[in-house]
Symmetry: none
Subunit: 220 residues, 4 copies
Amino acid sequence: MTNPVSAPPTRPPRTLSRDERRVQLIEATLSTIAECGFSRTTLTEVARRAGLSHGLVLFHFETKEKLLVETLDYLSDEYKANWKAALDSAGPAPEERLAALVEADFSPQVCQPSRVNAWSAYWGESQSRPLYLSHCGANDELYIRTLEDVCAAMNTAHGYKIEATRAARLIRITIEGTWLEMMTLLNPYDQHEAKTTVWTCAGLLYPRHFGPDGPLRPAA
Amino acid sequence: MTNPVSAPPTRPPRTLSRDERRVQLIEATLSTIAECGFSRTTLTEVARRAGLSHGLVLFHFETKEKLLVETLDYLSDEYKANWKAALDSAGPAPEERLAALVEADFSPQVCQPSRVNAWSAYWGESQSRPLYLSHCGANDELYIRTLEDVCAAMNTAHGYKIEATRAARLIRITIEGTWLEMMTLLNPYDQHEAKTTVWTCAGLLYPRHFGPDGPLRPAA
Amino acid sequence: MTNPVSAPPTRPPRTLSRDERRVQLIEATLSTIAECGFSRTTLTEVARRAGLSHGLVLFHFETKEKLLVETLDYLSDEYKANWKAALDSAGPAPEERLAALVEADFSPQVCQPSRVNAWSAYWGESQSRPLYLSHCGANDELYIRTLEDVCAAMNTAHGYKIEATRAARLIRITIEGTWLEMMTLLNPYDQHEAKTTVWTCAGLLYPRHFGPDGPLRPAA
Amino acid sequence: MTNPVSAPPTRPPRTLSRDERRVQLIEATLSTIAECGFSRTTLTEVARRAGLSHGLVLFHFETKEKLLVETLDYLSDEYKANWKAALDSAGPAPEERLAALVEADFSPQVCQPSRVNAWSAYWGESQSRPLYLSHCGANDELYIRTLEDVCAAMNTAHGYKIEATRAARLIRITIEGTWLEMMTLLNPYDQHEAKTTVWTCAGLLYPRHFGPDGPLRPAA
DNA sequence: GATGAATGAGCCTTCATTCAT
DNA sequence: GATGAATGAAGGCTCATTCAT
């Protein structure tokens, strides 16, 4: 409970490479942000979760601020890598690509509590710290453009009429919205229900290709 | 300069009533949270914005935690009062009631930066502090039930088939999502575009009653 | 021993005025610098010597750096006030004024260990911190000019030929030198011997007016 | 490229001898003290200036304190070697020996900024650390006795009447005083002017042998 | 020898809280 | 009511020191 990052009970191995140590500390930071919130994320707590001394955190990251920035970059890069990989594995049809993007956002790596909570914490500080916008703005824009392209392709390929910009935005905020609700509701629904909600939205936009349960079989 | 007949309304009030002081301090808290973020909201800053000493803040609220709780209650009550008033002024038809609820969330009082940012900050801390859920959960549930009832009435009155729970959720998270995007995008869209997005969603759910520009005229 | 600033054993009185408190803390700082050296002058130690909490030090001075600056200013102003007062009380003859200036530097207020050690500590940091030069340079220059004027008057009034700039400098560094030696010698000589040394120097410069024991009596 | 006969003197030495490394590190320490002051002299900075890792500093000196002590010893020994060498090269006459001692203190090796600043820094800490007195006291006393002997010889050989102890002290503190002023004045004078000041003092003590420009020619 | 990861004591600073006035 | 002096816990950060490689 006190050490979710699987630190050995004895001394942590010195054999960890520089990068592995950094990742270990970033993971500890994510779990701290997720469970303690931004305002109670302290270096001491991060170090405690990693089973290391707080001095080491600063040895590797110099500053708390830099640690938070690198953690955000890590989160952002992981998110991007996840949907890009999904897109690469998807077939060429726009409905396949759209399905891949939606599914990617519910993959275990990206949709686990430590990630979703951390995103939410960063969003909550985004207005007061230039940090979020300057470090994720570009990635976010790339994602949005990609989603818009897919939506535009749906129109071209299948004769839908819905404006691509708005369709993409609806899908995107539906996903974000379910993420948020899974955290802020007194009685939150589960991930399956969240996904159904998103697919419902996709089905409203592209009724011949999606329904509440996901992509419609080719037979349809 | 002074007005011997009625109390001088222009003079800055030296001694406000107990409740007025509290509201003044809560507003200062909201603006601090909105501009400085949760983690840098200090009593000194709140007092500075209110033009008072920090000692007075604790005189009125005893504890920083209690100040934050009361601020959240204030925010939550204001939000509820806003949509309830909108509902009261709306006509009896479900499409009128739905339109009123959507419009309420974009009213100037509720959708101003200090409010939206503050909500976002509280959401960002909701997982780590029992505060948010315990103080807003009930209000949120009431809102959700109300919206679901309206959606159910749409089905009953107009023969729509979309499940009320999901329709309500889609509308709700579309609104929340646009709120969030107005804060986290590098190049955010404006409020009008946000509303269009929500109406588009409503139009997909209830195509005979709503479109991207809002409720369709009775003629339709 | 632990508290040389005469703090009452119980709570320090709240009745101290703002300025009195500041002076109390500055005196504690001087004694800390004098006894612990610059590199081990900590806010905690200063507070301990004042019998107060370290938080209060920062409440009054905001920053350690500012405390050190204000302490230096205090030291510098005290020094200036001391020799100015001596000059004001002296007779009009240049030998009287010169005698007054020399005596001033050995007055108990200015020549006590806490002062001399502190000066030495600030000098030791003067090359690496702009602090000393920017805050004492002007006072030092004023003192030097004053001493030079007196030496020039010795020439004019009594027919001495020694260049005023150099004579003034010799007197000044003789004083400083004895100060330094009182601190750095293994077996330091006492203050009386120090003064004799300075008067010897003055006697070499102005043999008809000064000797090792000080100013020569008019009879001579 | 390599020279199989003798060790290659031009190649940057990858592995210095034990003593060379120590001297290299001590020089780095001196330059750090001179430029950063005592309180900001860190092992990391010393190592950086030496182009080595900080671990190596402790490998060679065990402790920061020991490094500072050895640096002081180095400084003190260098100083002693310098004036002893000057004395050895001087003629037998006391005025020649005195001249040699004065000149020695302004030789480039001993009077360079890194040395003078370092002395000043050590002096500034001398009251609070037993270090200075215990390590330089003996050397200082030897120097003082030597200077006193020379002054006594001036009396014996040339019929001067000035007490040797005091004359020696005046010369010594005049030198120290100009050193200090070269560091603490806003508009410091140069080394030539400093020397002129010292010679002026010597000329006042021994007018038939010294003047502001140094030793008087044998003709006198 | 040499490097640099790792530790932990101690520092400056922030800030919620108390309390005399 | 209101102010601001005073306290002390806790946080970020520096840095001497240890030690595995």
